[in-house]
Symmetry: C2
Subunit: 360 residues, 2 copies
């Protein structure tokens, strides 16, 4: 198959090799069905079992109760920015948002565009989003509070989630989906595009508390209605069948690793290793503040942009790809999702040390 | 790989074996990039080339000019029912729809739900949609005329398209996407879910005349805005990268078959073969009227429902799957998309003749 490299892309992103091998092995004939999974009717018993199994497995891995339902939708998190505002806003109440980076800002802009009354209750914009705000002025009667649990571009992550009392807490977990244990009962809905930590692109996963589903107004676009899709078990229309199939394989892979605690342990080890190197160097300067650092997207600067360009180019030549930081932060970003093996982080660190030795 | 069967499912549906083999061959390492296509950033040069190539190839195969742009969107045709009404309706004008079956009805229901003034200008509902209406009362000043070029459930297809003059003609071609040559300049937009004749599910392909794009209002959901996605070459957010990749392979396969005329010739041969058998039998009764018959979805009844059940079950045992008709028409439906080999139709016909001999 040729040489696979270490892919630090922010998303679509590296997937477990075992998952890719399974896809490859059954690509022409899915489990003796005589056809590829991507050729199979979404109304078949086989696919129905697959989607039901995935729905349950996603809840089970984190411990969501039967009060919740997993929805498989299309359009990624961008689609959900629209959908959640259309479905979950409530007349006479404010939709409240925490602004922790460019993706939060997009969610906020969508609520504004769609004419939903909203309020930003905390922001880290004045420090280029290098931390998660510590204080939130949550209203007693908000429609919901929306957070971005991990900020792909800036490399920050919530360590603890806000206590919103009776106000439904909604989290965009696109870039830290199932990277560590959290208390699922704190949330009214978590969602994410699959393409960073859960599967291929073209799929949004929402785990929603069932009472929230009743909020969906009747006159919103069908494709964005939680109520319609929940009522049809995500099969109102043809879903992204390949996406659901791969997400299910990735969830089985998490289970087979020992579950979410084992995955979290591996993630803390990988990220800790990398942050230790950053903190012990004057050459590399981490962007995110301690206490807000992402386990998934690690961002740092070098002394100047020329060196950053050189770093990215030389890393690529060593088989370490996707390390260029987002233009809004600059520098370097290493996305080390669940599927990034420790060997990838070790190879990156070896390269960093050698690069510093030569250029520091 | 085990035995592949003939899959007559209406969608997701059979794909060219050569396409599946390509996907399988490069699943772990896409063209020496060191990663799977599904792990690759949509912002990479490689993916950018892929999406640009697919955009152009889809236009080239049918002869669309540079006045048109191909958009890759999510949500299938159901998403487009919402999107086209939101983007292309015009204040003070009626949106006009031709009702040729359940999918037309869904498009119409969506315009109504979203509060767009609309009118049904022709319908075949009173004959259970067994034909395409011959007459349309097209307004001089409609916002658009919407047709469903092929009706998956009932098995009808437009042989000629209505002349709508200056009124933009929009066609949902989900189930006959690129099955035969048509004059692309007649259309303001064609669109379809990919999962029947063009690729896997989770992707909508729209080929839109660029002047139509300017109609998009600013305050509609971002995920449904033609203007926003056209302005970013379908990469406003992460698209269904796997879907675009496979659609591009299928379009290359059409090109390699000899282009759309060669594919049309094969389709007419396959469908003609099957309709001839239906017409020469009293045992099998075709649903669609002559002059409106689909090249893609062939529907028929047997003398009673018991025999229909028996037919579906015995066919499956012979490796002919997905033949059960939709509940709204009943009976049998054979979906014989571009990728269905002649051998599949021949096997079906052999089975039909034997079944009639035993049970007729």
């Amino acid at each position: 198959m040729g040489q696979r490299i270490f892919n630090f892309s922010a998303g679509p992103a590296t997937l477990p090799l075992a998952v890719l091998e399974t896809i490859q092995g059954e690509l022409l004939n899915y489990r003796d069905e005589g056809m590829s999974l991507i050729e199979m009717s979404h109304r078949s018993k086989t696919f129905d079992n697959l989607v039901n199994g995935a729905e349950q497995l996603i809840r089970d891995i984190m411990g969501f109760s039967d009060d919740y339902q997993t929805l498989f939708l299309q359009g990624g998190a961008t689609g959900q920015f629209s959908a959640l505002a259309l479905n979950l806003a409530v007349d006479g109440k404010l939709a409240e948002y925490v602004d922790t980076g460019p993706w939060s800002a997009k969610a906020i802009a969508e609520a504004k565009k769609l004419g939903k009354p909203y309020r930003v209750i905390a922001s880290s914009a004045d420090s280029n989003h290098n931390h998660i705000p510590a204080e939130y002025a949550i209203g007693d009667d908000a429609a919901y509070v929306h957070i971005t649990s991990n900020n792909t571009i800036v490399g920050t992550q919530f360590e603890d989630f806000p206590d919103t009392g009776n106000v439904p807490l909604i989290a965009d977990m696109s870039s830290d989906f199932y990277c560590k244990r959290f208390d699922p009962n704190k949330f009214a809905m978590i969602y994410g595009g699959a393409q960073k930590n859960a599967g291929p692109s073209g799929l949004a996963i929402c785990v929603i508390r069932k009472d929230l589903i009743e909020r969906s107004p009747a006159n919103i676009p069908t494709i964005l209605s939680y109520k319609i899709f929940a009522g049809k078990n995500s099969l109102y229309n043809t879903p992204n069948t390949f996406g659901i199939y791969v997400v299910n394989l990735v969830m089985e892979w998490i289970r087979d690793q020992g579950g979410i605690d084992a995955v979290e342990k591996a993630n803390r080890h990988k990220a800790g290793f990398l942050y230790t190197v950053l903190d012990s160097s004057d050459f590399f300067r981490p962007h995110a503040q301690d206490g807000s650092r992402s386990l998934m997207n690690v961002t740092w600067r070098l002394p100047n942009e020329e060196l950053e360009k050189q770093f990215v180019a030389e890393a690529l030549a060593e088989g370490l790809s996707g390390l260029k930081g987002h233009r809004s932060v600059g520098g370097i970003r290493a996305s080390i999702y669940n599927a990034m093996p420790l060997a990838g982080v070790e190879a990156l660190i070896s390269f960093m040390k050698e690069f510093e030795r030569k250029n520091g």
